[in-house]
């Protein structure tokens, strides 16, 4: 288990960097942070008040200490637009974003990995070229544009998808009792099948739009990694040992290809978390991304800062998870750690 601790410790520098940057973004930039924090409707007096209240009249290191103290207490300040603590706001909206991201990832992985494997078993065939072309085209589409196109085609033209009104059409359905905050899970727990179906239906288009861009990196690395492990010495041994084709492809080649694939997942998460913001905007999804956009436009700075921090922490944790998954796949990594 010691490697788990080592990996956990390894996240400390990243987290420290993240905290310093979010601090600098809010406290050390040109312009008057107090004016930002006071909001657009502030006058000189209220700005001075905010400055004193936030301790912005103190020296930078002292401010940093205060900032750390606040973080330790889980205090990210108050949002100007909602009047609530930013932490409360974010935690309330986080499940929506996680749900969307999760489904997008599942979509991307479920399409891209078989595609990559398939292409790798027939390099330079028609299948290979079609996969490559599809993936390259998908990579050129901005997520928000894909989101809108899908709404236009599947909602407006074909009427196959439900109205893009967010997570659930609350005129027709009631939100399931809160357990995890994810509607699909909560309705499953409540055994409320119509709501489960409705919330899944709402998820399809946004998850596909979000996942589409992630197809390219995952499919490309899967193909490359599969080609490499199919051409490797141990695959040759497996073939010379007369193992079945399926066994060679999955137990031997694919498992070995998984490590490079899991390594690009970090990049994929970076993208998914960022593009979440755009997709939530398109689909009226009540997640932290949509919250952040409103906050940015309203110069609600504490909210923006809290959002950036939360996303970064989330990202570091996801990377840790991928890393740990990698050690499960590859005993060598476990050994080195």
């Amino acid at each position: 288990m010691s490697f788990v601790w080592k990996r956990l410790l390894g996240t400390v520098p990243s987290l420290a960097g993240v905290i310093v940057v979010t601090f600098l973004l809010s406290h050390a930039l040109p312009g008057d942070p107090a004016a930002y924090f006071a909001g657009p409707a502030a006058n000189a007096v209220s700005i001075a008040e905010v400055r004193a209240k936030l301790g912005l009249d103190q020296s930078l290191p002292l401010q940093f200490l205060h900032y750390l103290g606040d973080l330790a207490r889980g205090d990210l300040g108050h949002s100007l637009t909602t009047g609530q603590p930013v932490v409360t706001d974010l935690l309330q909206r986080l499940p929506a974003s996680m749900e969307l991201t999760f489904f997008a990832l599942v979509f991307a992985v479920a399409i891209a990995i078989p595609m990559g494997v398939w292409a790798a078993t027939r390099p330079d065939s028609l299948v290979d070229h079609v996969c490559r072309a599809t993936v390259s085209v998908a990579a050129a589409f901005p997520t928000f544009f894909v989101g809108l196109l899908l709404v236009y085609v599947f909602y407006f033209l074909l009427d196959l998808a439900p109205e893009p009104v967010g997570r659930l059409n609350e005129i027709l359905y009631t939100v399931p009792p809160h357990v995890t905050g994810m509607y699909t899970l909560d309705s499953l727990i409540a055994g409320d099948w119509p709501v489960l179906a409705a919330s899944l239906a709402q998820l399809v288009l946004p998850a596909i739009s979000l996942g589409l861009f992630a197809l390219a990196p995952i499919a490309r690395i899967t193909r490359a990694a599969m080609l490499q492990s199919l051409g490797s010495d141990f695959t040759r041994t497996a073939r010379a040992s007369g193992l079945k084709r399926g066994k060679i492809l999955f137990t031997y080649a694919f498992r070995n290809a998984l490590l490079p694939v899991s390594n690009v997942l970090g990049m994929v998460f970076s993208f998914l978390l960022g593009a979440n913001v755009l997709i939530e905007q398109v689909y009226g999804w009540q997640g932290i991304g949509a919250y952040a956009v409103n906050a940015v436009l309203a110069s609600d700075y504490a909210a923006v800062q809290g959002f950036v921090l939360m996303m970064a922490v989330l990202y570091v944790l996801l990377n840790l998870l991928v890393d740990l998954a990698g050690t499960l796949i590859d005993p060598r990594v476990r050994f080195e750690a």
Binding site: S14, V18, P30, G31, F145, L149, Y152, M311
Partner: protein
């Protein structure tokens, strides 16, 4: 020897791969729009026409008009300047700064290397688009700050790449020879190492360009940086979005398509250039 392989690579990349040539052609067209869009466009991109609101594509308005009756074709053409301009400036800045930081880190090692490395790791610890949002929000909602934010989130790719390449080359014969010949560190770096890592860095840059365009457009899509009525593809898509449920597709499809085209062509160009440099690395 070197020339013949390079020659063969050019034939391979551009002869066998006509797509790259097509991409270059389209990019040139877009650059033309970026430079002379204002005078090439059939209408003024800002002039509203109350009588021709939301008219569908026709011979007078090939891409239709928007809610204020402005000609979408003209707006898409003129917008090329801002979109490509922001992305190219961000990439050029990122390239220069990243090359400098990475080369210094890779050549000297020691504490410059550690500082640069830490800095890049910190940038990479954020989901990059989120960091860009944070930067624009903190620095102020302007076009310049979009460029700055896009530059910052691109920086680690160039810096790490340059560091790695310099590190490898530092030990190579020709650099060693130059150093033995009494050359000082900086001239060796500038005259002998950097010219050799420029080509692969260029490939990286052109592969990155599409991503930079997507980032800048994404930021303006959510309302950062560019303000209406300035023509810009991201903001035009966002303005057109409200007409989806009434079926006026042309309001967002054409600016969106322009974005896709630009990104796709830059990606193709990047792939083509990479083949040119090293055909084996094709995946």
């Amino acid at each position: 020897m070197r020339d013949t392989t390079l020659g063969r690579n050019i034939v391979h990349a551009f002869g066998e791969n006509r797509l790259t040539l097509v991409a270059v052609g389209i990019l040139l067209l877009l650059l033309l729009c970026a430079m002379f869009g204002q005078s090439l466009a059939p209408y003024d991109p800002l002039t509203t026409d109350g009588a021709a609101k939301l008219s569908s594509p026709s011979s007078t308005h090939p891409f239709g008009t928007d809610a204020l009756g402005r000609d979408i074709l003209s707006r898409v053409m003129v917008a090329a300047r801002l979109d490509l301009g922001m992305a190219i400036s961000a990439v050029v800045l990122s390239f220069t700064l990243g090359l400098t930081l990475g080369a210094v880190a890779g050549y000297f090692g020691g504490w410059p290397d550690r500082i640069v490395g830490r800095l890049m790791d910190t940038i990479m610890a954020f989901p990059l688009f989120v960091l860009a949002m944070g930067i624009v929000a903190a620095l102020g909602n302007t076009e310049l700050n979009i460029i700055l934010a896009t530059m910052i989130i691109n920086l680690p790719f160039y810096s790490r790449f340059a560091r790695g390449e310099v590190n490898v080359r530092r030990e190579m014969g020709y650099v060693e020879a130059a150093r033995m010949g009494g050359n000082k560190a900086l001239p060796v770096l500038i005259n002998h190492i950097i010219p050799n890592i420029l080509p692969p860095m260029m490939v990286q840059a052109s592969l990155n360009m599409g991503w930079a365009i997507l980032n800048a457009a994404g930021l303006s899509f959510i309302g950062l940086g560019v303000r209406p009525p300035t023509p810009e593809w991201g903001i035009m898509v966002s303005e057109g979005a409200s007409f989806i449920i009434s079926g006026e597709w042309w309001t967002f499809v054409f600016p969106g398509a322009a974005l896709v085209l630009a990104v796709f062509c830059f990606n193709l160009l990047g792939d083509g250039l990479r083949d040119l440099l090293d055909p084996r690395r094709r995946i």
